[in-house]
Protein backbone atom coordinates (compact mmCIF):
# COMPACT_ATOMS: atom_id res chain seq x y z
CA UNK A 1 0.00 0.00 0.00
CA UNK A 2 1.19 3.48 -0.72
CA UNK A 3 2.33 5.90 1.94
CA UNK A 4 0.00 7.67 4.34
CA UNK A 5 -1.16 10.99 2.93
CA UNK A 6 -3.40 12.95 5.24
CA UNK A 7 -5.58 15.48 3.50
CA UNK A 8 -8.88 17.28 3.46
CA UNK A 9 -11.74 16.53 1.11
CA UNK A 10 -14.00 19.55 0.76
CA UNK A 11 -17.51 19.12 -0.55
CA UNK A 12 -18.41 22.19 -2.63
CA UNK A 13 -21.95 20.88 -2.80
CA UNK A 14 -22.29 21.24 0.94
CA UNK A 15 -20.20 24.32 1.79
CA UNK A 16 -22.46 27.28 2.59
CA UNK A 17 -19.65 29.84 2.87
CA UNK A 18 -20.15 30.58 6.58
CA UNK A 19 -16.39 31.06 7.33
CA UNK A 20 -16.62 28.93 10.49
CA UNK A 21 -13.56 27.00 9.29
CA UNK A 22 -11.68 30.30 8.82
CA UNK A 23 -12.36 31.55 12.33
CA UNK A 24 -11.79 28.20 14.04
CA UNK A 25 -8.52 27.77 12.13
CA UNK A 26 -7.34 31.23 13.13
CA UNK A 27 -8.40 30.65 16.75
CA UNK A 28 -6.65 27.28 17.07
CA UNK A 29 -3.48 28.21 15.24
CA UNK A 30 -3.03 31.61 16.85
CA UNK A 31 -3.22 30.01 20.29
CA UNK A 32 -0.69 27.25 19.78
CA UNK A 33 2.89 26.79 20.90
CA UNK A 34 4.20 28.16 17.59
CA UNK A 35 3.05 31.65 18.50
CA UNK A 36 0.32 33.86 17.13
CA UNK A 37 -0.80 34.27 13.55
CA UNK A 38 -0.16 37.96 13.66
CA UNK A 39 -2.45 40.71 12.43
CA UNK A 40 -1.38 44.19 11.55
CA UNK A 41 -3.71 47.10 12.06
CA UNK A 42 -6.57 44.63 12.75
CA UNK A 43 -9.14 47.27 13.70
CA UNK A 44 -7.90 50.00 11.37
CA UNK A 45 -8.91 51.02 7.90
CA UNK A 46 -6.57 48.65 6.05
CA UNK A 47 -6.08 45.48 8.07
CA UNK A 48 -3.79 42.62 7.10
CA UNK A 49 -3.18 39.34 8.82
CA UNK A 50 -2.03 35.77 8.50
CA UNK A 51 -4.65 33.13 7.87
CA UNK A 52 -4.16 29.49 6.92
CA UNK A 53 -7.60 29.15 5.42
CA UNK A 54 -9.79 31.45 3.39
CA UNK A 55 -13.30 30.99 2.05
CA UNK A 56 -13.83 32.59 -1.32
CA UNK A 57 -17.00 32.97 -3.34
CA UNK A 58 -17.40 32.57 -7.07
CA UNK A 59 -20.36 32.93 -9.37
CA UNK A 60 -21.00 31.07 -12.61
CA UNK A 61 -23.37 32.05 -15.38
CA UNK A 62 -25.37 35.16 -16.16
CA UNK A 63 -28.10 36.57 -13.95
CA UNK A 64 -30.67 35.20 -13.27
CA UNK A 65 -29.26 31.80 -14.24
CA UNK A 66 -26.33 31.91 -11.85
CA UNK A 67 -24.78 29.50 -9.45
CA UNK A 68 -22.84 30.51 -6.37
CA UNK A 69 -19.82 28.48 -5.35
CA UNK A 70 -18.29 28.90 -1.92
CA UNK A 71 -14.71 27.78 -2.13
CA UNK A 72 -12.57 27.16 0.99
CA UNK A 73 -8.86 27.36 0.17
CA UNK A 74 -5.91 26.29 2.28
CA UNK A 75 -2.61 24.48 1.67
CA UNK A 76 -3.35 21.42 -0.46
CA UNK A 77 -0.40 19.39 0.91
CA UNK A 78 0.69 18.43 -2.61
CA UNK A 79 2.25 15.02 -3.14
CA UNK A 80 4.76 16.80 -5.43
CA UNK A 81 5.04 20.10 -3.54
CA UNK A 82 6.82 22.71 -5.73
CA UNK A 83 7.43 24.88 -2.65
CA UNK A 84 9.70 22.33 -0.94
CA UNK A 85 12.73 21.86 -3.27
CA UNK A 86 13.17 25.62 -3.81
CA UNK A 87 13.64 26.35 -0.11
CA UNK A 88 17.37 27.13 0.37
CA UNK A 89 17.47 26.15 4.05
CA UNK A 90 15.29 23.05 4.11
CA UNK A 91 12.82 24.81 6.43
CA UNK A 92 10.03 23.86 4.06
CA UNK A 93 9.55 20.10 4.06
CA UNK A 94 7.07 17.30 3.54
CA UNK A 95 6.74 14.85 6.41
CA UNK A 96 7.57 11.28 5.47
CA UNK A 97 5.16 9.68 7.92
CA UNK A 98 1.92 11.44 6.95
CA UNK A 99 2.64 13.64 3.92
CA UNK A 100 1.92 16.96 5.67
CA UNK A 101 3.87 19.91 4.17
CA UNK A 102 5.28 21.97 7.03
CA UNK A 103 7.60 24.92 7.67
CA UNK A 104 10.24 24.71 10.37
CA UNK A 105 9.95 28.22 11.84
CA UNK A 106 13.39 27.90 13.45
CA UNK A 107 15.09 27.38 10.08
CA UNK A 108 13.05 29.78 7.90
CA UNK A 109 15.00 32.88 6.90
CA UNK A 110 11.95 34.66 5.49
CA UNK A 111 13.12 34.93 1.87
CA UNK A 112 9.55 34.22 0.60
CA UNK A 113 10.88 32.17 -2.32
CA UNK A 114 8.59 29.22 -1.46
CA UNK A 115 5.52 31.42 -1.82
CA UNK A 116 6.57 32.25 -5.38
CA UNK A 117 6.62 28.52 -6.09
CA UNK A 118 3.06 27.85 -4.95
CA UNK A 119 0.40 28.28 -7.65
CA UNK A 120 -2.41 28.24 -5.07
CA UNK A 121 -1.33 31.18 -2.92
CA UNK A 122 -1.49 28.89 0.08
CA UNK A 123 1.47 30.36 1.95
CA UNK A 124 1.20 33.57 3.95
CA UNK A 125 4.23 35.39 5.30
CA UNK A 126 4.21 36.53 8.91
CA UNK A 127 6.00 39.91 8.90
CA UNK A 128 6.18 40.06 12.70
CA UNK A 129 7.95 36.73 13.22
CA UNK A 130 9.62 36.99 9.83
CA UNK A 131 8.80 33.45 8.77
CA UNK A 132 6.58 31.85 6.15
CA UNK A 133 3.43 30.23 7.50
CA UNK A 134 0.87 27.85 6.09
CA UNK A 135 -1.77 25.31 7.01
CA UNK A 136 -0.30 22.55 9.18
CA UNK A 137 -3.40 20.37 8.96
CA UNK A 138 -3.48 21.11 12.72
CA UNK A 139 -0.55 18.76 13.18
CA UNK A 140 -0.51 19.62 16.90
CA UNK A 141 -4.17 18.50 17.25
CA UNK A 142 -4.28 15.41 15.09
CA UNK A 143 -1.26 13.88 16.81
CA UNK A 144 -2.26 14.85 20.35
CA UNK A 145 -3.03 11.55 22.09
CA UNK A 146 -4.41 13.35 25.16
CA UNK A 147 -7.44 14.28 23.07
CA UNK A 148 -10.32 11.88 22.55
CA UNK A 149 -9.83 10.03 19.29
CA UNK A 150 -12.78 11.62 17.51
CA UNK A 151 -11.40 15.09 18.39
CA UNK A 152 -8.03 14.42 16.73
CA UNK A 153 -9.04 16.29 13.58
CA UNK A 154 -8.14 19.69 12.15
CA UNK A 155 -10.00 22.59 13.77
CA UNK A 156 -11.71 23.49 10.49
CA UNK A 157 -13.16 19.98 10.13
CA UNK A 158 -14.55 19.99 13.66
CA UNK A 159 -16.03 23.48 13.18
CA UNK A 160 -17.77 22.99 9.83
CA UNK A 161 -21.53 23.16 10.62
CA UNK A 162 -22.81 21.24 7.56
CA UNK A 163 -19.81 18.81 7.63
CA UNK A 164 -18.49 19.82 4.23
CA UNK A 165 -14.93 18.91 5.23
CA UNK A 166 -13.70 15.34 5.48
CA UNK A 167 -10.29 14.55 6.96
CA UNK A 168 -8.38 11.35 6.38
CA UNK A 169 -5.72 9.34 4.61
CA UNK A 170 -6.52 9.59 0.91
CA UNK A 171 -4.19 6.68 0.14
CA UNK A 172 -6.14 4.32 2.37
CA UNK A 173 -8.98 3.08 0.14
CA UNK A 174 -11.13 2.33 3.20
CA UNK A 175 -10.95 5.84 4.64
CA UNK A 176 -13.95 8.13 4.51
CA UNK A 177 -11.89 10.66 2.54
CA UNK A 178 -10.82 8.17 -0.13
CA UNK A 179 -14.36 6.83 -0.44
CA UNK A 180 -15.74 10.34 -0.89
CA UNK A 181 -13.18 11.09 -3.63
CA UNK A 182 -14.01 7.80 -5.34
CA UNK A 183 -17.78 7.94 -5.08
CA UNK A 184 -18.43 11.63 -5.68
CA UNK A 185 -15.88 12.49 -8.37
CA UNK A 186 -13.31 14.23 -6.17
CA UNK A 187 -10.94 16.45 -8.15
CA UNK A 188 -7.67 18.32 -7.66
CA UNK A 189 -7.03 22.02 -8.28
CA UNK A 190 -4.87 23.09 -11.23
CA UNK A 191 -3.86 19.58 -12.31
CA UNK A 192 -1.91 21.14 -15.20
CA UNK A 193 1.08 21.92 -12.96
CA UNK A 194 1.71 18.32 -11.90
CA UNK A 195 1.69 19.20 -8.21
CA UNK A 196 -0.69 16.36 -7.41
CA UNK A 197 -2.48 18.08 -4.51
CA UNK A 198 -3.55 15.78 -1.68
CA UNK A 199 -6.56 17.89 -0.79
CA UNK A 200 -9.48 17.12 -3.05
CA UNK A 201 -12.74 18.90 -3.76
CA UNK A 202 -16.10 17.29 -4.40
CA UNK A 203 -18.02 18.96 -7.23
CA UNK A 204 -21.35 20.74 -7.02
CA UNK A 205 -24.07 18.22 -7.81
CA UNK A 206 -27.42 19.07 -9.35
CA UNK A 207 -30.26 17.37 -7.49
CA UNK A 208 -33.52 17.32 -9.45
CA UNK A 209 -36.50 15.00 -9.62
CA UNK A 210 -38.57 14.14 -12.68
CA UNK A 211 -42.28 13.71 -11.96
CA UNK A 212 -44.51 12.06 -14.53
CA UNK A 213 -48.16 12.96 -14.74
CA UNK A 214 -49.41 9.64 -13.43
CA UNK A 215 -47.31 10.15 -10.34
CA UNK A 216 -49.35 13.24 -9.50
CA UNK A 217 -52.51 11.21 -9.25
CA UNK A 218 -52.70 8.36 -6.81
CA UNK A 219 -52.43 5.28 -8.98
CA UNK A 220 -53.94 3.14 -6.22
CA UNK A 221 -56.99 5.34 -5.93
CA UNK A 222 -59.77 3.04 -7.13
CA UNK A 223 -62.38 5.76 -7.33
CA UNK A 224 -60.03 8.00 -9.39
CA UNK A 225 -60.96 10.92 -7.19
CA UNK A 226 -58.80 12.97 -4.88
CA UNK A 227 -59.93 13.68 -1.40
CA UNK A 228 -60.69 11.79 1.73
CA UNK A 229 -61.56 8.20 1.04
CA UNK A 230 -64.61 6.71 2.65
CA UNK A 231 -63.93 5.15 5.97
CA UNK A 232 -63.55 1.37 5.51
CA UNK A 233 -65.81 -0.89 7.48
CA UNK A 234 -64.62 -1.96 10.89
CA UNK A 235 -63.70 -5.51 9.87
CA UNK A 236 -62.32 -4.74 6.41
CA UNK A 237 -58.60 -5.50 5.81
CA UNK A 238 -56.41 -2.43 6.15
CA UNK A 239 -52.97 -1.53 4.81
CA UNK A 240 -51.13 -2.32 8.04
CA UNK A 241 -53.54 -5.05 9.10
CA UNK A 242 -53.97 -3.32 12.43
CA UNK A 243 -56.48 -0.60 12.02
CA UNK A 244 -58.63 0.95 9.40
CA UNK A 245 -58.66 4.37 10.96
Amino acid sequence: MSKVQLALVIDLNVCVGCHACVTSCKEWNTSGWAGPLTDQNPYGADPTGVFFNRVQTYECGTYPNTETIHFPKSCLHCEEPPCVPVCPTGASYKREEDGIVLVDYDKCIGCKYCSWSCPYGAREFDPVQGVMKKCTLCVDRITDTTLAEDRRKPACVLACPPAARIFGDINDPESEAAKAIRDYGGFQLMPEWGTNPANHYLPRRKISMTLHKDELVRADNPLKIEGELPRPSFNAPSIDDLSGW
Binding site: H19, V22, D46, P47, T48, G49, V50, F51, R54, V55, Q56, T57, Y58, E59, C60, G61, T62, E67, T68, F71, K73, P82, P85, V86, C87, P88, T89, G90, A91, K107, C108, I109, G110, C111, K112, Y113, S115, W116, S117, C118, P119, Y120, G121, R123, E124, F125, P127, Q129, G130, V131, F187, Q188, L189, M190, P191, E192, W193, Y201, P203, R204
Partner: protein, 326 residues
Protein backbone atom coordinates in the same frame (compact mmCIF):
# COMPACT_ATOMS: atom_id res chain seq x y z
CA UNK B 1 5.19 40.70 -8.48
CA UNK B 2 6.19 43.38 -6.00
CA UNK B 3 9.69 44.67 -6.76
CA UNK B 4 11.78 44.55 -3.56
CA UNK B 5 14.54 47.15 -3.59
CA UNK B 6 16.90 44.79 -1.80
CA UNK B 7 16.67 42.33 -4.70
CA UNK B 8 16.82 45.13 -7.30
CA UNK B 9 20.13 46.33 -5.82
CA UNK B 10 21.42 42.81 -5.21
CA UNK B 11 20.99 41.64 -8.80
CA UNK B 12 22.18 44.86 -10.48
CA UNK B 13 25.20 45.32 -8.18
CA UNK B 14 26.49 41.75 -8.31
CA UNK B 15 25.74 41.61 -12.06
CA UNK B 16 27.94 44.67 -12.62
CA UNK B 17 30.60 43.27 -10.28
CA UNK B 18 30.68 39.92 -12.09
CA UNK B 19 30.73 41.68 -15.47
CA UNK B 20 33.61 43.90 -14.37
CA UNK B 21 35.57 40.87 -13.17
CA UNK B 22 34.97 39.03 -16.44
CA UNK B 23 35.98 42.18 -18.36
CA UNK B 24 39.29 42.40 -16.47
CA UNK B 25 40.04 38.72 -17.01
CA UNK B 26 39.13 39.04 -20.70
CA UNK B 27 41.45 42.04 -21.01
CA UNK B 28 44.29 40.18 -19.34
CA UNK B 29 43.73 37.18 -21.59
CA UNK B 30 43.68 39.51 -24.61
CA UNK B 31 47.25 40.51 -23.75
CA UNK B 32 48.39 36.99 -22.95
CA UNK B 33 47.36 35.56 -26.30
CA UNK B 34 47.97 38.71 -28.35
CA UNK B 35 51.21 40.07 -29.72
CA UNK B 36 50.44 43.74 -29.02
CA UNK B 37 51.70 45.88 -26.13
CA UNK B 38 53.03 44.05 -23.14
CA UNK B 39 49.92 44.58 -21.02
CA UNK B 40 48.70 46.40 -17.99
CA UNK B 41 50.29 46.71 -14.58
CA UNK B 42 49.25 44.35 -11.81
CA UNK B 43 47.92 47.36 -9.88
CA UNK B 44 45.42 48.07 -12.68
CA UNK B 45 43.89 44.60 -12.34
CA UNK B 46 44.16 44.64 -8.57
CA UNK B 47 42.31 47.95 -8.23
CA UNK B 48 39.73 46.93 -10.85
CA UNK B 49 38.98 43.62 -9.19
CA UNK B 50 38.85 45.35 -5.81
CA UNK B 51 36.11 47.51 -7.33
CA UNK B 52 34.33 44.35 -8.51
CA UNK B 53 34.72 42.91 -5.01
CA UNK B 54 33.19 46.07 -3.52
CA UNK B 55 30.18 45.78 -5.86
CA UNK B 56 29.72 42.10 -4.98
CA UNK B 57 29.99 42.96 -1.30
CA UNK B 58 27.43 45.76 -1.61
CA UNK B 59 25.09 43.33 -3.38
CA UNK B 60 25.56 40.83 -0.57
CA UNK B 61 24.72 43.53 1.97
CA UNK B 62 21.60 44.45 -0.04
CA UNK B 63 20.52 40.80 -0.09
CA UNK B 64 20.47 40.68 3.71
CA UNK B 65 17.83 43.40 3.73
CA UNK B 66 15.58 40.98 1.85
CA UNK B 67 15.70 38.40 4.63
CA UNK B 68 13.37 38.64 7.58
CA UNK B 69 15.71 36.52 9.69
CA UNK B 70 19.20 37.36 8.36
CA UNK B 71 20.87 35.83 11.43
CA UNK B 72 19.98 32.42 9.95
CA UNK B 73 21.27 33.23 6.46
CA UNK B 74 24.05 30.66 6.86
CA UNK B 75 21.41 27.94 6.74
CA UNK B 76 20.55 28.85 3.16
CA UNK B 77 23.57 26.96 1.80
CA UNK B 78 21.96 23.69 2.89
CA UNK B 79 19.78 22.72 -0.07
CA UNK B 80 22.12 23.35 -3.00
CA UNK B 81 21.06 20.05 -4.55
CA UNK B 82 17.55 21.31 -5.29
CA UNK B 83 17.43 25.09 -4.87
CA UNK B 84 18.93 27.64 -7.26
CA UNK B 85 18.68 30.20 -4.47
CA UNK B 86 20.89 28.01 -2.32
CA UNK B 87 23.37 27.64 -5.19
CA UNK B 88 23.51 31.41 -5.56
CA UNK B 89 24.09 31.80 -1.83
CA UNK B 90 27.12 29.49 -2.11
CA UNK B 91 28.47 31.05 -5.29
CA UNK B 92 28.42 34.72 -4.21
CA UNK B 93 31.04 34.19 -1.48
CA UNK B 94 32.93 31.84 -3.81
CA UNK B 95 33.16 34.53 -6.49
CA UNK B 96 34.08 37.09 -3.81
CA UNK B 97 36.86 34.83 -2.52
CA UNK B 98 38.29 34.12 -5.97
CA UNK B 99 38.11 37.83 -6.84
CA UNK B 100 39.97 38.64 -3.66
CA UNK B 101 42.68 36.10 -4.53
CA UNK B 102 42.87 37.47 -8.08
CA UNK B 103 43.22 41.04 -6.76
CA UNK B 104 45.78 40.06 -4.11
CA UNK B 105 47.89 38.07 -6.54
CA UNK B 106 47.99 40.99 -8.97
CA UNK B 107 48.76 43.41 -6.15
CA UNK B 108 51.63 41.28 -4.88
CA UNK B 109 52.83 40.64 -8.42
CA UNK B 110 53.33 36.94 -7.71
CA UNK B 111 53.32 35.34 -11.18
CA UNK B 112 54.70 31.80 -11.08
CA UNK B 113 54.20 30.03 -14.42
CA UNK B 114 51.88 27.05 -14.06
CA UNK B 115 51.90 25.72 -17.60
CA UNK B 116 53.76 26.39 -20.86
CA UNK B 117 52.02 25.61 -24.12
CA UNK B 118 53.54 24.40 -27.42
CA UNK B 119 53.22 27.84 -29.01
CA UNK B 120 55.38 29.41 -26.32
CA UNK B 121 52.53 31.10 -24.43
CA UNK B 122 52.39 30.50 -20.69
CA UNK B 123 49.65 30.30 -18.09
CA UNK B 124 50.70 32.10 -14.92
CA UNK B 125 49.00 32.12 -11.55
CA UNK B 126 47.09 35.44 -11.91
CA UNK B 127 45.66 34.34 -15.25
CA UNK B 128 44.65 30.95 -13.81
CA UNK B 129 42.99 32.63 -10.82
CA UNK B 130 41.28 34.99 -13.26
CA UNK B 131 39.89 32.08 -15.28
CA UNK B 132 38.60 30.43 -12.11
CA UNK B 133 37.00 33.68 -10.89
CA UNK B 134 35.45 34.42 -14.30
CA UNK B 135 34.09 30.88 -14.57
CA UNK B 136 32.54 31.16 -11.13
CA UNK B 137 31.07 34.54 -12.09
CA UNK B 138 29.53 33.02 -15.23
CA UNK B 139 27.99 30.19 -13.21
CA UNK B 140 26.68 32.77 -10.73
CA UNK B 141 24.90 34.55 -13.60
CA UNK B 142 23.19 31.28 -14.45
CA UNK B 143 22.19 30.71 -10.81
CA UNK B 144 20.76 34.22 -10.44
CA UNK B 145 18.84 33.90 -13.69
CA UNK B 146 17.58 30.42 -12.86
CA UNK B 147 16.17 31.60 -9.51
CA UNK B 148 13.60 33.50 -11.58
CA UNK B 149 13.49 31.30 -14.67
CA UNK B 150 12.55 28.22 -12.64
CA UNK B 151 9.45 29.86 -11.14
CA UNK B 152 7.11 28.22 -13.62
CA UNK B 153 4.06 29.93 -12.12
CA UNK B 154 5.21 33.28 -13.52
CA UNK B 155 5.13 32.85 -17.30
CA UNK B 156 6.99 36.10 -17.98
CA UNK B 157 10.00 34.80 -16.03
CA UNK B 158 9.84 31.15 -16.86
CA UNK B 159 11.99 31.17 -19.97
CA UNK B 160 15.64 30.80 -20.93
CA UNK B 161 15.58 34.47 -21.97
CA UNK B 162 15.58 35.38 -18.28
CA UNK B 163 18.96 33.69 -17.82
CA UNK B 164 20.32 35.08 -21.09
CA UNK B 165 19.27 38.60 -20.14
CA UNK B 166 20.72 38.43 -16.63
CA UNK B 167 23.99 37.31 -18.20
CA UNK B 168 24.07 39.86 -21.02
CA UNK B 169 22.94 42.82 -18.91
CA UNK B 170 25.53 41.94 -16.28
CA UNK B 171 28.25 41.71 -18.94
CA UNK B 172 27.07 44.94 -20.54
CA UNK B 173 27.16 46.94 -17.30
CA UNK B 174 30.41 45.29 -16.21
CA UNK B 175 32.23 45.98 -19.48
CA UNK B 176 30.93 49.57 -19.52
CA UNK B 177 32.26 50.08 -16.01
CA UNK B 178 35.56 48.44 -17.01
CA UNK B 179 35.78 50.76 -20.02
CA UNK B 180 35.15 53.81 -17.82
CA UNK B 181 37.74 52.54 -15.34
CA UNK B 182 40.29 52.01 -18.14
CA UNK B 183 39.47 55.44 -19.55
CA UNK B 184 39.92 57.17 -16.19
CA UNK B 185 43.21 55.27 -15.63
CA UNK B 186 44.41 56.14 -19.17
CA UNK B 187 44.90 52.46 -19.85
CA UNK B 188 45.83 50.99 -23.23
CA UNK B 189 42.82 48.69 -22.70
CA UNK B 190 40.35 51.53 -23.07
CA UNK B 191 39.39 50.98 -26.71
CA UNK B 192 39.32 47.20 -26.41
CA UNK B 193 36.92 47.44 -23.48
CA UNK B 194 34.79 50.20 -25.05
CA UNK B 195 34.28 48.06 -28.16
CA UNK B 196 33.39 45.00 -26.04
CA UNK B 197 31.03 47.06 -23.89
CA UNK B 198 29.31 48.45 -26.97
CA UNK B 199 28.81 44.98 -28.41
CA UNK B 200 27.51 43.59 -25.10
CA UNK B 201 25.16 46.55 -24.59
CA UNK B 202 23.66 46.26 -28.07
CA UNK B 203 23.26 42.50 -27.68
CA UNK B 204 21.67 42.89 -24.24
CA UNK B 205 19.30 45.51 -25.62
CA UNK B 206 18.25 43.16 -28.42
CA UNK B 207 17.56 40.19 -26.14
CA UNK B 208 15.83 42.29 -23.47
CA UNK B 209 13.61 43.91 -26.09
CA UNK B 210 12.78 40.45 -27.35
CA UNK B 211 11.72 39.43 -23.85
CA UNK B 212 9.57 42.56 -23.50
CA UNK B 213 7.89 41.64 -26.78
CA UNK B 214 7.50 37.99 -25.79
CA UNK B 215 5.98 38.95 -22.43
CA UNK B 216 3.38 41.02 -24.23
CA UNK B 217 1.64 37.87 -25.39
CA UNK B 218 2.45 34.99 -23.07
CA UNK B 219 -0.25 32.40 -22.69
CA UNK B 220 -1.36 31.37 -19.24
CA UNK B 221 -1.82 27.72 -18.51
CA UNK B 222 -4.33 28.15 -15.72
CA UNK B 223 -7.72 29.78 -15.65
CA UNK B 224 -10.51 30.14 -13.10
CA UNK B 225 -11.85 26.87 -14.50
CA UNK B 226 -8.85 24.86 -13.33
CA UNK B 227 -8.32 27.10 -10.28
CA UNK B 228 -11.63 26.09 -8.71
CA UNK B 229 -12.28 22.99 -10.81
CA UNK B 230 -15.61 24.16 -12.17
CA UNK B 231 -16.07 23.66 -15.87
CA UNK B 232 -18.24 26.60 -16.64
CA UNK B 233 -17.44 29.04 -19.44
CA UNK B 234 -18.34 32.05 -17.29
CA UNK B 235 -16.84 32.22 -13.82
CA UNK B 236 -16.11 35.35 -11.83
CA UNK B 237 -14.95 35.89 -8.33
CA UNK B 238 -17.41 37.60 -6.02
CA UNK B 239 -15.05 37.80 -3.06
CA UNK B 240 -11.52 36.66 -2.25
CA UNK B 241 -12.70 36.04 1.30
CA UNK B 242 -11.52 39.19 3.07
CA UNK B 243 -11.95 42.92 2.71
CA UNK B 244 -8.43 44.04 3.70
CA UNK B 245 -5.01 43.02 2.49
CA UNK B 246 -3.01 39.86 2.89
CA UNK B 247 0.44 38.64 1.93
CA UNK B 248 -1.11 37.31 -1.27
CA UNK B 249 -2.41 40.71 -2.34
CA UNK B 250 0.77 42.59 -1.35
CA UNK B 251 3.67 40.36 -2.46
CA UNK B 252 2.16 39.42 -5.82
CA UNK B 253 1.14 42.85 -7.10
CA UNK B 254 3.33 45.75 -8.15
CA UNK B 255 2.62 49.29 -7.03
CA UNK B 256 1.52 51.46 -9.94
CA UNK B 257 -0.33 50.10 -12.89
CA UNK B 258 0.42 49.13 -16.45
CA UNK B 259 1.24 52.79 -17.17
CA UNK B 260 4.15 52.72 -14.71
CA UNK B 261 5.51 49.56 -16.30
CA UNK B 262 5.24 51.05 -19.80
CA UNK B 263 6.87 54.33 -18.76
CA UNK B 264 9.73 52.58 -16.96
CA UNK B 265 10.19 50.22 -19.91
CA UNK B 266 10.81 53.19 -22.19
CA UNK B 267 13.10 54.68 -19.54
CA UNK B 268 15.22 51.55 -19.14
CA UNK B 269 15.56 51.02 -22.87
CA UNK B 270 16.87 54.58 -23.20
CA UNK B 271 18.89 54.97 -19.99
CA UNK B 272 20.00 51.37 -19.67
CA UNK B 273 20.93 50.60 -23.27
CA UNK B 274 20.44 53.33 -25.89
CA UNK B 275 22.20 56.20 -24.08
CA UNK B 276 25.18 54.08 -22.86
CA UNK B 277 25.51 52.56 -26.34
CA UNK B 278 25.57 56.02 -27.91
CA UNK B 279 28.10 57.28 -25.36
CA UNK B 280 30.26 54.17 -25.86
CA UNK B 281 30.15 54.60 -29.63
CA UNK B 282 31.01 58.30 -29.27
CA UNK B 283 34.03 57.53 -27.11
CA UNK B 284 35.48 54.85 -29.39
CA UNK B 285 39.01 55.91 -30.33
CA UNK B 286 39.01 58.82 -27.91
CA UNK B 287 40.76 59.32 -24.61
CA UNK B 288 39.68 59.90 -21.05
CA UNK B 289 36.74 58.48 -19.18
CA UNK B 290 34.28 61.30 -18.45
CA UNK B 291 31.79 60.27 -21.15
CA UNK B 292 32.16 56.64 -20.11
CA UNK B 293 31.50 57.51 -16.47
CA UNK B 294 28.25 59.17 -17.57
CA UNK B 295 27.43 55.99 -19.49
CA UNK B 296 27.99 53.91 -16.33
CA UNK B 297 25.72 56.15 -14.23
CA UNK B 298 22.99 56.20 -16.87
CA UNK B 299 23.17 52.44 -17.32
CA UNK B 300 22.98 51.69 -13.62
CA UNK B 301 19.86 53.85 -13.24
CA UNK B 302 18.42 52.20 -16.35
CA UNK B 303 19.15 48.68 -15.10
CA UNK B 304 17.54 49.41 -11.73
CA UNK B 305 14.41 50.45 -13.66
CA UNK B 306 14.79 47.34 -15.84
CA UNK B 307 14.82 45.10 -12.76
CA UNK B 308 11.77 46.94 -11.40
CA UNK B 309 9.94 46.29 -14.67
CA UNK B 310 11.10 42.66 -14.65
CA UNK B 311 9.38 42.14 -11.30
CA UNK B 312 6.32 44.28 -11.98
CA UNK B 313 5.66 42.57 -15.32
CA UNK B 314 5.66 39.11 -13.72
CA UNK B 315 2.10 37.90 -13.23
CA UNK B 316 1.76 35.01 -10.81
CA UNK B 317 -0.82 32.25 -11.25
CA UNK B 318 -2.05 32.68 -7.66
CA UNK B 319 -3.52 36.08 -8.59
CA UNK B 320 -6.43 34.13 -10.10
CA UNK B 321 -7.61 33.59 -6.53
CA UNK B 322 -7.36 37.25 -5.54
CA UNK B 323 -9.46 39.36 -7.87
CA UNK B 324 -12.45 40.76 -6.02
CA UNK B 325 -13.41 42.11 -2.63
CA UNK B 326 -16.93 42.07 -1.25
Amino acid sequence: MRPAFSVLFLTTLIGTGQGLLIALVTAQFFFVIGSGPSGESGAFYALGSALALALLGLGLVASFFHLANPQRAWRSAAKWRTSWLSREVILIPAVCGLTLLYALDHWLGWTPVLMVFANGKALDLPMALGFAAAAAALVLFVCTGMIYACVKFIRQWSSSWTVINFLLMGLSSGFTLAAAYAGLMDSVLRDFLVADALAATLLAMATRLYQVRRNGHVRFRSSLKTAIGTHHPQIRQITQGFMGQSFNTIEFTAPGGAGTVRGLTVFFILAGFAVPAALLAASLGGTGGALLAVAVASQFAGLLAERWVFFAAGVHVQNLYYQAKA
